[in-house]
C-alpha cells in the first residue's frame, strides 16, 4: 500500500545512493580493480587506461549531479539563519 510513491522511501533511497556513490568510485578507481584496464591497447587512438580513468571520473560527476537535486530537497531548511545577527562592517 505504500510502495513506490512513498516519499519517505524515495528520500531514503536517494540518501543511500549518496552514501554509496563515493564507495563505488573508490572501488572503480583504486587497485586492484583499476589494474584491469592497464593494457597496451588504444580506443580512438587514446590509451585504454586514460579513457577508463576519465570516463569513471565524468560518470561520478554525472551521478552526483543527478543526485544533487533530490538530496538538496532532502536537506532540512536552515535551522538558524546566521546572517541576521551579522553586524555591519566596521
Amino acid at each position: 500500500m505504500n510502495a513506490p510513491r512513498d516519499p519517505d522511501l524515495a528520500r531514503r533511497k536517494f540518501n543511500d545512493a549518496g552514501l554509496v556513490l563515493p564507495i563505488a568510485g573508490t572501488f572503480l578507481l583504486m587497485p586492484p580493480f583499476i589494474r584491469v584496464f592497464v593494457t597496451d591497447s588504444f580506443i580512438f587512438g587514446i590509451p585504454v587506461i586514460i579513457v577508463y580513468l576519465f570516463s569513471v571520473w565524468f560518470a561520478l560527476i554525472l551521478v552526483a549531479w543527478w543526485l544533487a537535486g533530490p538530496l538538496r530537497e532532502a536537506m532540512q531548511s536552515d535551522p538558524t539563519d546566521t546572517s541576521d545577527t551579522e553586524p555591519p562592517a566596521a
Partner: protein, 892 residues
C-alpha cells in the same frame, strides 16, 4: 621573452583589478547588495583555491615525470565531494550551528572547548602551511624568472621578487581579510576576488592545453599516439602510492585550514554544498584533462633536461606565443595568490583566536572585559599574524632555496595536515572520543610526520640531516626516519603516512577508550555527533548559569562592537517578550551569547570569557553530568518522537473528520424520524377519532357509519402509500439498487404517464397541452421507474395548481445530447428560496400541508433520475407558474 617592465605592468594591473573587485564587493556587502555573490557558483569557485600553483605548474611536471600519478591529487577531492552526504554535510551543519571559525576551533569545540587542543592544532596548521606558502612564492618567482628570460642581471633577484610578492599578498589580505570581526568570519570581498581568480586560472590552463594539443602536437590523436606505456608509468603507478596519494588529497580537502575556511566557515547556505558536490569535481576534471596533453607536448617540443614544472610557460614561449605565455603567467599568479590569501586569513584567525586571545585573558585575568577593547586586540593580532605567516613562508623559501620539485613540498604539507583527520572526523562521528585521545593521537602523528617527512626534507641543504636520515640518530639503524623499525616501504611518503596515521588513529582510539570525558565534552560530543537529530532552531540549552546582564552586555560590546551588540541584545530581548531594555540573563540567553561570541573569538575563548562573567565555575559536577546524559537521551529519542507524533496527528485528524460526518448524519436521521412521525400522526389521528366515534355510539346511523368507514379506509390507504414511499426512498438511498439499465423510449414512458394522469386532471379541471415532442430518442433507464418520475411531477403540477383555469404545458426535446422534458403549470409558482428544499424529504413548497401527498415524491424522483445519471430541477424565473425540467443523457 617579455620585458620585465611589461610583465610588471601586467601583474600590477591584475592586482589592481583584484583590489577593485574586493573593494567594490565589500562596499556592496555593507549595503546588503550581494545576492549574486551568495550563489552556489561563487561558493564552488572559492573552493577551487584547492588548485594552487602546485596544480597549475606542478601537475604538468608530475605528469611528465610520473605519468598518471598527478590525477590522484584531484581524485581524492572528487570522491570526498561526490560523497558529501557522508562528512562534508555534517561539518557544514556543525560549523553553522556552533559558529565554528576554523578547523582548530572545530576540534577544540568538540572536545569540551579545550584551549590546549586549539593551540596544538593551530601550531600544526602553521607548521604544515609554511612550506606550502613557500611553495607558492617559489612558483611565482620561478615563473617570473622564466617568462622574463632570467633577468637577474637587470637587478631583480629571486629574493627581491619573492619579498615583494609576499608583501603585496600580506597587504591585500590585511586590507580585505581583517576588516572586521564578523559573526561568522565571512569575507565577501576576498571570496569575490578568489572566485575571479579561479576562473582566470581555469581559462589560462585550458588555453595552454588547447594550444598544446592543436598548436604544438597537431591534434588530439597526434598527442596520444606519442603516449607510451612508459610515459604513463601505468604498470607501477597503481600501487600503494596511488592509494596513499588519493587518501592524502581526500584528507587535505577536508582538513587544510584554507579549505575548511572556504567550505565550512564561508558557507552561507548549506544547500550550496549540493551544487558544489558535482561542480567542484567538474572544475577539477576540466583542469586535469589538459594536464597530460601539455606534458606530452612539452616532452616533444622542449629540449631534454628542461624543467617540466614550467612547461605551462615554456611551451608557449618556445613557439613565440608571448600573449598566451603572459596569460598563463597570470593564471599561475592567480592560483598562488588566492591560496596564500585564504590560507593567511584562516591561519591568522586561528592564531588570534586560539593563541593571542587566551594569552591576553591570562595576562589581564582580573578585569579583562571591562578594560581594553577586545575587538581591536583581535584585529591587530590578526593583522600581525598575517604578516608573520607570510614572513615565515618567505624565510622557509630562502632557507630551502626552492630546490625541490613543487609537488613534493605540497605532499609534505598535505601529510602534516592529515594528522588532524582522526580528531576531526572521529570527533564528529564517534561520541566516545575524548580530549586526551585526540591530544595523544595528534601528538604521535605530528611527531612521526616531523621525524619521517619534515626533517628529511632538509637533507639536501644540510649534511647533518642527510647523515641523520641515511644512518638513523646516533647511527641506530632501527630508528632510520625512512625505514622505521626496519619496515621497508620504498616510498618515503607512503612510509611516513603509514606510521604517522597508524600511530595517530591507534592512540586516538585507545586513549579515548581508557579515559573519561569531562561533562562538557560529553555534551559537546552529543551535540556534534547527533547534529542531524536536533530539531531546527536552538540546540538544547544546557548549563545553568546566571550573570548580571549588564556585564554580559559590556562583554559583547567589547567583542562584537557597540552597535551589533546592541542589535543582538535587542533581538534576544524581543524574543523574550521584552520591548524595552536589556533581556533577562537566563540559561538560553547565556548559551546563545556564548555561541555568538564563539563566531568571533572561537569556542574555547568565548567559553572562558562567558564562564568568568557568568560564574561557570559554580556548576556542580553532578549537575553537568545529568545534563550531558539527558541531552544525549533527548537527542536519541527526539527523532522517534517526531515521527510518532506526526503519525498520531494524522490519525486524530481523520477521527475528527469521521466524527463530524457521523454527527451530521445523526442529525439528519433525527430530523427525518421526527418528520415521518409527524406525517404518520395526521392520518392516524383521524382514523382513531372516527373509529372511537363508531365504537362509543352504537346507534350510529348506518349511512353515517358507512361514511366514517370510508374515511378510515381512505386514511389507511394514504398511510400505506406513505409507508411505501418511505420504504422506496430508503431503498433507493441505501445504494443497494442494482437496476439493469436498458435503452428505453422515454417518449413512450411520458405517454404512459400522461395517460395515467388524464383522469385526475379531468377531475380537477386541469387542461394538459402537449406543446412539443422530441420524437425518436432512447435513454438508458428503467421503463417503470421513468414513468413513475413523470407521473410524480405531473401529479404535483395538477395537485398544487389552484388557479381558476388550471393549465399544464408539456414539452420534450433534445438539447446538447440530453433528452429534456419540461412541465410548466400556471399555478401559484414556487419561491426561489424553496427551489432546493422542495427536493428534500417532506419539503413541500411554501410549507403547504393542505394538499394530499407525502412530500416524498420529488425526493424519490430526483433519487431515481440520479441513478440514470440525469436530474430534475426547478427552472428559475420561469414565469407565474413553476417549470420542472427533467434531463437524461440521450444514448447514441
Amino acid at each position: 621573452m617579455l620585458s620585465a617592465n611589461l610583465l610588471l605592468f601586467i601583474c600590477l594591473s591584475y592586482v589592481a583589478l583584484l583590489f577593485l573587485v574586493a573593494f567594490v564587493v565589500d562596499r556592496r556587502a555593507q549595503r546588503d547588495r550581494i545576492g549574486w555573490l551568495q550563489s552556489p557558483l561563487v561558493y564552488t569557485l572559492s573552493i577551487s583555491i584547492y588548485c594552487t600553483s602546485w596544480t597549475f605548474y606542478g601537475a604538468v611536471g608530475s605528469a611528465a615525470r610520473s605519468g598518471l600519478e598527478f590525477a590522484t591529487i584531484y581524485l581524492g577531492p572528487t570522491l570526498v565531494f561526490v560523497g558529501w552526504w557522508w562528512i562534508l554535510r555534517k561539518l557544514v551543519r556543525i560549523g553553522r550551528l556552533h559558529r565554528i571559525t576554523s578547523i582548530a576551533d572545530l576540534i577544540s569545540s568538540r572536545f569540551g572547548k579545550s584551549p590546549t587542543l586549539a593551540v596544538f592544532v593551530t601550531l600544526i596548521a602553521v607548521i604544515a602551511t609554511t612550506p606550502y606558502i613557500a611553495l607558492q612564492l617559489q612558483s611565482v618567482t620561478l615563473s617570473y624568472r622564466v617568462i622574463s628570460g632570467n633577468t637577474e642581471a637587470a637587478g631583480l633577484n629571486d629574493g627581491v621578487t619573492a619579498f615583494w610578492v609576499a608583501a603585496g599578498m600580506a597587504l591585500f589580505t590585511i586590507l580585505f581579510g581583517t576588516r572586521n570581526v564578523t559573526a561568522n568570519e565571512r569575507h565577501h570581498g576576498v571570496v569575490a576576488a578568489i572566485a575571479l581568480e579561479a576562473l582566470v586560472k581555469l581559462f589560462a590552463l585550458i588555453a595552454v592545453g588547447l594550444f598544446a594539443i592543436y598548436g604544438v602536437a597537431g591534434g588530439l590523436s597526434e598527442v596520444f599516439s606519442r603516449v607510451t606505456p612508459e610515459m604513463l608509468h601505468a604498470d607501477e603507478v597503481f600501487g600503494s602510492r596511488w592509494i596513499a596519494l588519493t587518501f592524502l588529497s581526500a584528507t587535505a580537502i577536508i582538513c587544510l585550514p584554507r579549505q575548511f575556511q572556504v567550505t565550512v566557515v564561508e558557507n552561507v547556505d548549506e544547500k550550496h554544498l549540493a551544487t558544489a558536490s558535482w561542480l567542484f569535481p567538474l572544475y577539477l576534471v576540466m583542469l586535469s584533462v589538459f594536464v597530460l596533453p601539455i606534458a606530452v607536448a612539452g616532452l616533444i617540443q622542449m629540449p631534454v633536461g628542461s624543467n617540466p614544472d614550467m612547461f605551462v610557460l615554456t611551451l608557449p614561449l618556445s613557439t613565440g606565443q608571448e600573449g598566451l605565455a603572459a596569460f598563463a603567467f597570470i593564471g599561475g599568479f592567480s592560483s598562488a595568490t588566492s591560496m596564500v590569501i585564504v590560507a593567511a586569513i584562516a591561519l591568522s584567525t586561528m592564531v588570534s583566536n586560539h593563541i593571542v586571545m587566551p594569552v591576553a585573558l591570562k595576562v589581564s585575568q582580573s578585569d579583562y572585559y571591562t578594560s581594553g577593547d577586545v575587538r581591536r586586540l583581535l584585529l591587530t593580532s590578526r593583522r600581525i599574524s598575517i604578516a608573520a605567516i607570510l614572513m615565515l613562508g618567505f624565510i622557509y623559501f630562502r632557507l630551502t632555496g626552492g630546490s625541490e620539485g613543487l609537488a613534493s613540498i605540497g605532499l609534505i604539507a598535505f601529510a602534516g595536515t592529515a594528522q588532524v583527520l582522526p580528531g576531526a572526523v572521529g570527533g564528529v562521528m564517534w561520541r566516545g572520543a575524548t580530549r586526551y585521545g585526540a591530544l595523544a593521537g595528534l601528538a604521535a602523528g605530528f611527531a612521526a610526520w616531523a621525524y619521517m617527512l619534515l626533517i628529511p626534507s632538509f637533507r639536501a641543504e644540510y649534511a647533518v640531516i642527510d647523515a641523520f636520515v641515511a644512518l638513523g640518530p646516533w647511527g641506530i639503524d632501527m630508528l632510520r626516519p625512512e625505514a622505521f623499525l626496519g619496515v621497508s616501504i620504498l616510498d618515503p611518503l607512503v612510509h611516513a603516512l603509514f606510521w604517522s596515521l597508524s600511530a595517530n588513529t591507534l592512540l586516538f582510539v585507545i586513549v579515548s577508550l581508557v579515559t573519561n570525558p569531562t561533562p562538557l565534552e560529553r555534551l559537546q560530543g552529543a551535540l556534534f555527533v547527533d547534529v542531524f537529530r536536533m530539531r531546527p532552531g536552538e540546540p538544547p540549552r544546557v548549563i545553568h548559569r546566571t550573570a548580571p546582564v549588564e556585564d554580559l552586555f559590556v562583554l559583547a560590546q567589547r567583542i562584537l562592537g557597540a552597535e551589533p551588540a546592541r542589535l543582538l541584545f535587542r533581538d534576544i530581548a524581543r524574543s523574550q517578550g521584552i520591548h524595552d531594555g536589556l533581556p533577562n540573563a537566563d540559561d538560553a540567553f547565556v548559551s546563545r551569547l556564548e555561541r555568538e561570541l564563539a563566531g568571533s573569538v572561537g569556542a574555547a575563548s568565548a567559553h572562558a570569557m562567558v564562564s568568568q562573567v557568568a560564574g561557570g565555575g559554580t556548576i556542580s559536577l553532578t549537575e553537568l553530568m545529568e545534563i550531558a546524559d539527558e541531552t544525549a537521551q533527548i537527542l536519541e529519542y527526539s527523532q522517534q518522537l517526531t515521527e510518532k507524533s506526526a503519525e498520531l496527528e494524522s490519525t486524530a485528524r481523520q477521527l475528527r473528520d469521521a466524527n463530524t460526518k457521523l454527527q451530521k448524519l445523526s442529525a439528519q436521521k433525527d430530523d427525518f424520524l421526527s418528520q415521518v412521525s409527524h406525517e404518520l400522526r395526521t392520518p392516524m389521528t383521524s382514523i382513531r377519532s372516527f373509529s372511537e366515534i363508531l365504537l362509543e355510539t352504537p346507534d350510529v346511523h348506518s349511512e353515517r357509519a358507512q361514511r366514517f368507514l370510508s374515511i378510515i379506509n381512505e386514511e389507511c390507504l394514504r398511510l400505506t402509500g406513505l409507508l411505501n414511499e418511505i420504504l422506496d426512498l430508503s431503498f433507493l438511498e441505501s445504494g443497494k439498487v442494482s437496476w439493469t439499465l436498458v435503452p428505453v423510449d422515454p417518449e413512450a414512458a411520458l405517454d404512459r404517464a400522461l395517460d395515467s394522469i388524464s383522469v385526475l386532471a379531468e377531475k380537477n379541471g386541469v387542461r394538459i397541452d402537449i406543446v412539443e415532442r422530441a420524437g425518436n430518442v432512447f435513454v438508458m433507464a428503467d421503463f417503470g421507474r421513468l414513468t413513475q418520475v413523470f407521473l410524480n411531477i405531473l401529479n404535483n403540477s395538477v395537485k398544487y395548481n389552484t388557479v381558476d383555469t388550471p393549465r399544464i404545458e408539456v414539452r420534450s426535446r433534445l438539447q446538447e445530447g440530453n433528452y429534456v422534458v419540461s412541465i410548466t403549470d400556471n399555478g401559484p409558482g414556487i419561491p426561489a428560496s424553496d427551489s432546493e428544499t422542495i427536493f428534500s424529504k417532506f419539503g413541500r413548497g411554501g410549507g403547504r400541508q393542505d394538499v394530499g401527498g407525502s412530500g416524498l415524491g420529488l425526493a424519490i424522483s430526483r433519487e431515481i433520475l440520479r441513478k440514470f445519471e440525469g436530474d430534475v430541477v426547478l427552472v428559475a424565473d420561469s414565469g407565474p407558474g413553476a417549470t420542472f425540467e427533467i434531463r437524461l443523457p440521450a444514448s447514441k
